[in-house]
């Protein structure tokens, strides 16, 4: 589904991604772990099409299409979803309104009929109930005055409504208490499907206790240092990252 080859990117002239290779098959869940500043967040932002990054080399194919040639909204409509690490507040813009516009933009691109207000409301209410969210979320401004946990929950809600082909979740687990973490995990697990891939960017093993990854990658210094199965995550939890660097040098 997603094939990243030798991807290099700069931000304000500084080289952050230094040749990333990663292949993600349909139905797989991958975890990307690694120390702060290693480039994990940059990778998902580049995949989503953020303009602040300058691509200096490599390629990304998404369902056979040249992802890097697509503007961000087209990537989204093609099924790429980014769960933001810090979801932005958009004061005065109704949460439900944005989500309905997003869903209909995607449906339109796929040649489907737009959902009307009634259909949308019943859809989103069901998803909110599943996520244990209060209905007041519908009428509040996008992330306006939300707590950290509420923002993350809102990201997952959006993901459930948009049903992406590829979900990139950027530290969705950070700052969550254990109950919120379980709810987020429940949302992610409910989306696991044969035709859908999920990438979890995380610092901690604890999310992976609830969402079991097929593959775990360790990101360091702008590239993938080591890949393995879920046992790698446990090993990282126990030993930290330093041994990997040493292993590589040795």
């Amino acid at each position: 589904m997603l094939k990243i080859s030798q991807l290099r990117a700069n931000v304000v002239g500084r080289n952050i991604l230094k040749g990333v290779d990663l292949e993600i098959g349909a139905g797989e869940v991958h975890a990307i772990m690694g120390p702060n500043g290693s480039g994990k967040s940059t990778l998902v932002q580049v995949l989503a099409g953020r303009e602040d990054y300058e691509i200096t080399g490599g390629s990304v194919s998404f369902d056979g299409a040249d992802l890097l040639a697509m503007p961000p909204e087209e990537r989204a409509r093609a099924g790429l979803f980014l769960g933001f690490q810090y979801p932005v507040e958009i004061p005065g813009v109704n949460n439900a309104y944005l989500l309905k516009a997003a869903l209909n933009a995607k449906r339109k691109a796929a040649g489907l009929a737009e959902v009307d207000a009634y259909e949308f409301l019943s859809l989103i209410k069901a998803k909110m109930k599943f996520m244990g969210m209060d209905e007041s979320f519908l009428s509040r401004g996008v992330n306006e005055g939300f707590s950290g946990g509420e923002k993350k929950r809102n990201e997952i809600l959006q993901m459930l409504v948009l049903e992406p082909r590829l979900a990139l979740l950027d530290e969705t687990d950070s700052g969550l208490d254990i109950d919120a973490l379980k709810v987020v995990a429940k949302g992610v697990n409910s989306l696991r499907a044969a035709e859908r891939s999920i990438v979890l960017v995380t610092h901690y093993q604890r999310l992976l206790d609830y969402v079991e990854p097929d593959r775990v990658h360790v990101f360091a210094d702008g590239r993938i240092l080591k890949s393995g199965d879920k046992t790698l995550a446990h090993e990282l939890e126990a030993r930290g990252y330093d041994w990997l660097r040493e292993e590589r040098v040795a």
Binding site: D52, A76, R77, V88, V93, A101, A102
Partner: protein, 482 residues
């Protein structure tokens, strides 16, 4: 003293006779401004003597004034002698004969605003008679208002039919000597609107200039006077929500509102005069004096404005809170794109006890535009218990535009409470990217973000106006980002 005045009048009337003969044939005055022109305007409209005297006094005062320079706007000097101060509506021969002759760019804009076809033709100035049945519409609403005792007519009609009300209230809120443009307007105003809502009456419908414009074409120097007597309530909507092409360059209007005991006046404006093209060529200079006086106890005056048009806007709808317990409100969205300049805000003058004012100002700048909020909150020693809340937010789109905020607060009563909040934000790259990442197009995303920013003001507008204001905003800001 009196003989001297008579001499002047004789002199004037002689001059006027001379000017008048040519006028009657062309139904317009040649460019230029002197006392004979002022007199000719008044005579043409068959005004009573008191009004002519009033105009002349204003004119003489205007001669002693200089154009103000304190606003953060720049324009080439205006030659007041090059303007014709009385002109008949554009002759049909100049107007396009059919909608096919109208600038397609203009028509495309109308289409985006969702204006019906027959309306588009009218707005573009197509010389088509009776494009829609305005007569029956006008009659229906006039009957309804007459039954309620509400007077709503053109200013000229009011001068003819209700001179006592004009004499009593005209210039009592904005005196002719108030400022340069108010003095000019007082001398040469051609027409405008007049509203009188008698005591205890709630006006049965929203009053809109829309109806009146169909009845009488108003010029560039409009005069509006609205009086709400004791316990009366009225909501007045001003302005055409469509981008109206206008050959006039200078628009200097005066609006006066008077609210007596327990009266409420809500005045909503959607101003969309021609802003000039993308390069800043052309456009209206909109220099307007708007002021309301809460003359009675517990009176309330509320200004809501959405300003998207004009090359230059210079406008400070204000409230004089004289009556104890009276309330003033100002809700504003001012948009400046391309080379537009907007210098707008409000003045809240607290005189009575326990008077309350609220200011919510949202300025949006894009392109090379400059948007300035200028506000004054003044609490006089008499205004014990006065309260004010001010919120001014600026939104910048792109890096070539600018926003300024000049909030002035003068409190001379220690018991007053004055709160001020201000913010300036760039249209968030983060916000924009967030929406794009959800699949929303850049254009829709900008509309959404801007509407959200303006929500606190839009909710003050009457429903149908709010929708149009939102459409207008998106048209005004088209291409500003992305």
């Amino acid at each position: 003293m009196s003989s001297k005045a008579t001499d002047v009048e004789t002199l004037l009337s002689r001059k006027y006779q001379h000017g008048f003969v040519t006028d009657i044939e062309s139904d317009s005055l040649p460019p230029g401004l002197d006392e004979s022109v002022v007199t000719a305007i008044s005579r043409k409209k068959n005004e009573p003597q008191f009004l002519l005297d009033w105009r002349l006094k204003a004119f003489r005062h205007w001669l002693t004034l200089r154009e103000p320079t304190w606003a953060t706007v720049h324009h080439p000097p205006i030659d007041y002698q090059a303007i014709s101060y009385f002109s008949a509506p554009r002759p049909p021969t100049d107007a396009p004969k059919s909608i096919d002759e109208v600038d397609p760019k203009l028509l495309a804009t109308y289409e985006k605003l969702g204006i019906p076809l027959h309306e588009r033709a009218r707005l573009a100035g197509v010389a088509v008679d009776a494009v829609f049945d305005s007569v029956s519409v006008a009659t229906t609403f006039k009957d309804k208002l007459a039954k309620a005792g509400v007077i709503f007519c053109s200013f000229s009609d009011a001068v003819r039919d209700h001179p006592e009300l004009i004499e009593r209230y005209l210039g009592t809120v904005v005196p002719p000597a108030d400022n340069f443009f108010a003095a000019l307007n007082s001398a040469v105003f051609s027409d405008g609107s007049f509203v009188y809502v008698p005591a205890g009456v709630r006006c049965p419908m929203e009053l809109s200039t829309y109806f009146r414009i169909n009845a009488a074409k108003t010029g560039q120097f409009e005069r509006t006077l609205i009086i709400a007597a004791e316990g009366a309530t009225v909501s007045y909507l001003e302005g055409c929500t469509a981008p109206m092409r206008d050959e006039n360059q200078l628009h200097a209007a005066v609006v006066e509102l008077v609210a007596l005991d327990d009266a409420k006046i809500k005045y909503s404006t959607v101003q969309n005069w021609y802003p000039g093209d993308e390069n800043g060529v052309g456009g209206i200079y909109n220099f307007v004096t708007k002021r309301g006086e809460c003359r009675g106890r517990n009176a309330k005056i509320s200004w809501t404005q959405v300003e998207t048009g004009s090359a230059i806007t210079w406008k400070y709808p204000s409230c004089v809170l004289k009556g104890d317990g009276s309330v003033g409100e100002f809700y504003s969205v001012a948009v400046a794109n391309n080379y537009q300049q907007a210098d707008t805000g409000t003045k809240m003058i607290h005189i009575g006890r326990d008077t309350k004012s609220t200011i919510v100002s949202k300025g949006i700048s894009a392109g090379h535009a400059v948007n300035t909020y200028r506000g004054l909150v003044k609490v006089l020693p008499s205004a014990t218990g006065a309260r004010n809340f001010t919120q001014c937010d600026s939104l910048l789109m792109g890096s070539q535009c600018a926003a300024h905020t000049f909030p002035i607060v003068e409190v001379r009563n220690p018991d007053a409470t004055v709160e001020h909040e201000a913010s300036t934000s760039k249209i968030g790259e983060d916000q924009l990217f967030y929406c794009l990442q959800r699949g929303v197009s850049a254009e829709d995303a900008v509309n959404m973000i801007v509407s959200g920013f303006c929500k606190a003001v839009f909710k003050e507008l009457p429903m149908e106006f709010a929708v149009e204001a939102q459409n207008l905003l998106s048209v005004s800001l088209e291409g500003a980002v992305g």
